[in-house]
């Protein structure tokens, strides 16, 4: 038992929190696996990110390091939340896991196998959802299965099952523009689940929704997660959302994106932000996030001053 297992277990990326973003992520990941080992035995992680780096040239020709040495391991069935300021590359990280882009260096492993491209074992729910407006709700949900070559009868069955799961059975023949934002969000969730991915990647899925709808969808997502046992990686900039849902919360630094700190959330579910433990965790994570937000603002102002 190490000190990471305390009441509000916080695993810092480095031993000394003041040195947090000083670029020692490799050590952080080492620490992480050490921390997890006593909990779960040595099963292979569902998903492993090995020293992921991504850099590209901006339109002005400047090289930009978006992600720097990201190391993460995700257990099967884990609900991992990633928070970070805008521009830290958290969406990009999901795209890499989904196989839509390739990292500059490093590897993404699913069940120990290297990810080479998109695959239906990892389904990404985009921030903009990417629902197909020319298809009905039912056809949207069916799409992934159709591409996989699932037989029609089975597809019907699955569509029914997942639409019932997200409470949209009556809307199966509607087009997506006829639905509200929260309903569209649930269609995207059903469409992702229907392909039966091992890993569900969610990119700020609830950011555009009003608070009530978001709360409702948190409950639903938690229920569906428990029901289906999927591994979920959930990117958000909303700390309350992260502590509400995550088994673990990872904070990324601002440009280049590195793992700043990880927090294990072992409070009982369903959690309420009013609970002192949850609120305490949120405060702490928010503190870490704020440092990064400030850095991003400084960079922005500095940039403007330079012009």
């Amino acid at each position: 038992m190490n000190n990471n297992q305390s009441a509000l277990p916080e695993t810092t990326a480095t031993d000394d929190p003041s040195m947090v973003s000083a670029g020692r992520p490799a050590r952080a990941a080492g620490k992480l696996s050490f921390m997890r080992a006593p909990q779960q035995g040595d099963e292979t992680p569902k998903l492993a990110l090995e020293d992921i780096c991504l850099s590209y040239k901006t339109t002005s020709g400047q090289p930009l390091v978006a992600l720097d040495n990201i190391r993460l391991q995700v257990k099967p069935g884990e609900f991992l939340c990633i928070v970070g300021p805008s521009g830290c590359g958290k969406s990009t990280l999901l795209h890499l896991i989904a196989g839509l882009h390739q990292p500059t260096s490093g590897r993404v492993l699913v069940d120990g196998h290297r990810v080479q491209g998109p695959g239906t074992d990892r389904i990404l729910i985009f921030q903009e959802l990417g629902l197909f407006p020319w298809l009905t709700v039912k056809e949207n949900v069916e799409f992934g299965m159709k591409m996989k070559g699932v037989a029609k009868a089975r597809r019907e069955e699955q569509v029914e099952r997942y639409l019932r799961m997200v409470h949209l059975s009556q809307f199966k023949d509607s087009y997506t523009h006829q639905l509200s934002g929260g309903m569209r969000q649930r269609v995207a969730l059903a469409r992702a689940l229907a392909t039966e991915p091992d890993v569900l990647l969610m990119d700020e899925p609830f950011a555009a929704l009003d608070a009530q709808t978001r709360d409702l969808l948190h409950d639903e997502l938690e229920r569906i997660w428990a029901e289906t046992g999927r591994t979920i990686i959930f990117v958000t900039h909303n700390v309350r959302e992260a502590v509400r849902l995550g088994d673990r919360v990872v904070v990324l630094t601002f440009r280049p994106g590195r793992v700043k700190r990880e927090y294990v959330m072992d409070m009982p579910r369903p959690r309420h932000i009013e609970d002192s433990e949850v609120a305490g965790a949120a405060r702490e994570i928010l503190g870490a996030l704020r440092e990064e937000i400030n850095k991003s603002l400084e960079e922005q102002y500095g940039h403007e001053a330079a012009i």
Partner: protein
């Protein structure tokens, strides 16, 4: 409603003016036809089936040529889209070729294919192929990238990705090009038929000239306008409206 009444007034006035000028007999009827003469020509043309036959022949050429150019335009557009080299070379050539009226292909077509259906088909295809190709290319560029990513993410690749995702996603952007392609094909066909005599509406028009039958000339012209307008109004407008309703783009909602 107001729009309609305005139009009724406008067209009534136009016909009234025509009647007055015809009654005044300023010009002989083979130069300035009378409304009743045109009406008689229309009736005669439909009752002796010559108009019906001409419409059928022209429409058959049109459909065949148009379907061919849509299919070929899709393939060409796809090739341009998937290959940077082709896009930068062939793409530019196609745009510049579009400034060539497609009837200019007729001499070449006649030398290649002789006075056959193939020659006229070639002219029709050349009329609309480029519009369709360029429309495909624009559609690919303007279509939101999210759909392609979502499609790949859900396991679509290769032809299914194109057919089930990229094509429908770019349809709103392609549709105007398809419409333009139809209009160009229609113009090319009629001009082709006027020069290259073998049935069809264009030939009927020239026959009117040869017989000094101005009424028939006007009647056929009206027919060409009516058919062009009907296809545009019925087929393409309906498609547009349906697409907009489906996508939720219509101004009504």
């Amino acid at each position: 409603m107001k729009q309609l009444s305005k139009q009724i007034v406008f067209y009534s006035a136009l016909i009234a003016l025509w009647v007055i000028l015809a009654k005044a007999k300023i010009w002989p009827p083979y130069i300035f036809p009378t409304p009743w003469g045109v009406w008689d020509s229309l009736r005669a043309g439909f009752s002796d089936h010559s108009f019906w036959i001409a419409i059928a022949v022209s429409m058959k050429r049109m459909l065949l040529g148009y379907v061919l150019s849509v299919v070929m335009g899709m393939i060409l557009g796809l090739a341009l889209g998937s290959n940077k080299f082709l896009e930068q070379t062939l793409g530019g050539l196609l745009v510049s070729l579009q400034s060539l009226p497609s009837i200019c292909w007729l001499p070449l077509a006649v030398l290649w294919f002789g006075l056959t259906e193939k020659a006229i088909l070639f002219v029709v295809v050349m009329g609309s192929l480029l519009s369709v190709t360029i429309a495909m290319e624009t559609g690919r560029q303007q279509m939101p990238k999210i759909y392609g990513m979502a499609g790949r993410n859900l396991g679509a690749r290769g032809f299914p990705l194109f057919w089930y995702v990229l094509l429908p996603a770019s349809l709103p952007y392609i549709l105007s090009g398809l419409k333009q392609g139809w209009a160009f094909a229609w113009r090319s066909l009629i001009s082709g038929e006027m020069i290259f005599v073998s049935l069809g509406l264009g030939q009927l028009l020239m026959m009117g000239r040869d017989l000094n039958d101005m009424s028939q000339v006007i009647a056929v012209m009206l027919l060409i306008i009516a058919i062009g307008y009907m296809v545009d109004g019925l087929v393409f407008r309906t498609m547009e409206r349906r697409l907009q309703a489906r996508w939720g783009l219509s101004s009504a909602t």
